[in-house]
């Protein structure tokens, strides 16, 4: 078994209201960043897991996302990286 560090992004589903993103975008524009068109705020989760190999580390984190980390009704997730820790 090796220790892997798996990073996931959990983001609000497109089309749903994203009050956090909107508040941040509004704030940035009023702070003098006029180029800001849109902001989305999600979560960045890093799980350190023991697994036989990178593929099974990724697979188990996918299962965690489906089961707990991401809200299937309002969020999407993507695996952002798998590295030996």
């Amino acid at each position: 078994m090796t220790r892997y560090r798996v990073a996931v992004h959990i983001v609000p589903r497109r089309g749903l209201l994203d009050p956090q993103g909107k508040a941040v975008a509004d704030a940035l524009r009023s702070l003098g960043f006029p180029g800001v068109e849109d902001v989305h705020v999600g979560r960045h989760i890093v799980a350190e897991v023991q697994a036989a190999d990178a593929a099974s580390a990724e697979q188990s984190v996918r299962a965690m996302c489906a089961k707990l980390l991401a809200n299937p009704v309002t969020e999407d997730f993507e695996i952002a990286g798998v590295n030996a820790a």
Partner: protein
């Protein structure tokens, strides 16, 4: 005496604070976040609430409000600022006070009447209390875990800047009586010069026996006495 109470978008204890100020005999002045004028206020209150929804980090956006430029100037001139709950978070974000207020360790909002011990009764905000006195004051917050690095904590403790600490009913600090996981059980601090106070508990909700506590009264009375003097 004129006490300015700032309303940010999302403030929701501004009205309670205005009423509290009037109750203790001062003149409340409502200050709008877009304004650039403190309208002659001698004391400024940053009240509780959810400025800008607290959607990014509590207090992070409000600290850039136009009125905050004036509040910073007021504070930098050594004049009093009271920062309660969301106000405390804003004051930390603005650098008026050290540290940060993070998500409660329970990950839950906490609303309760809690015992607080007065750690320093020599400040302009607390001289009508006795050192060691145990107060009962409501808390209501999701992000109240005071966090600072070791140097800052040592300085706060060493200089008597810790003003209120969470304790149990008997007056002793213990893990179960800390409602949010604050370092050193800190509930409230003052700035190095002693004229800016930040606290998570709500003294403006503890001014009436019918509501369960009058322990907030000496807080406002201390200040009025000192500033009037």
């Amino acid at each position: 005496m004129r006490i300015g109470v700032v309303t940010f978008p999302g403030s929701n204890c501004d009205e309670d604070t205005v009423l509290a100020v009037a109750k203790v005999g001062a003149t409340p002045v409502r200050l709008w976040h877009k304004a650039h004028d403190l309208e002659g206020s001698e004391i400024i209150v940053l009240p509780g609430g959810f400025s800008y929804g607290d959607y990014l980090r509590s207090g992070a956006i409000a600290r850039f409000s136009p009125i905050m430029q004036e509040v910073m100037a007021h504070a930098n001139a050594g004049r009093p600022v009271i920062a309660i709950c969301n106000g405390f978070q804003i004051a930390c974000e603005a650098g008026l006070l050290p540290g940060a207020l993070l998500r409660n360790d329970s990950l839950k909002f906490v609303s309760d009447m809690v015992p607080l011990r007065v750690e320093n009764a020599d400040t302009m905000f607390t001289h009508k209390y006795a050192k060691g006195q145990v107060l009962r004051i409501p808390v209501a917050h999701g992000d109240g875990r005071f966090t600072a690095d070791a140097d800052v904590l040592a300085r706060l403790e060493g200089e008597g800047q810790v003003v209120f600490r969470y304790v149990n009913a008997g007056g002793t600090a213990d893990a179960q009586s800390n409602p949010n996981g604050s370092m050193h059980d800190i509930a409230g601090i003052v700035s190095a010069q002693g004229h800016v106070i930040g606290m998570m508990p709500h003294p403006e909700r503890a001014l009436d026996r019918m509501l369960g506590s009058t322990d907030g009264l000496p807080f406002f009375e201390s200040l009025l006495a000192r500033v009037a003097a």
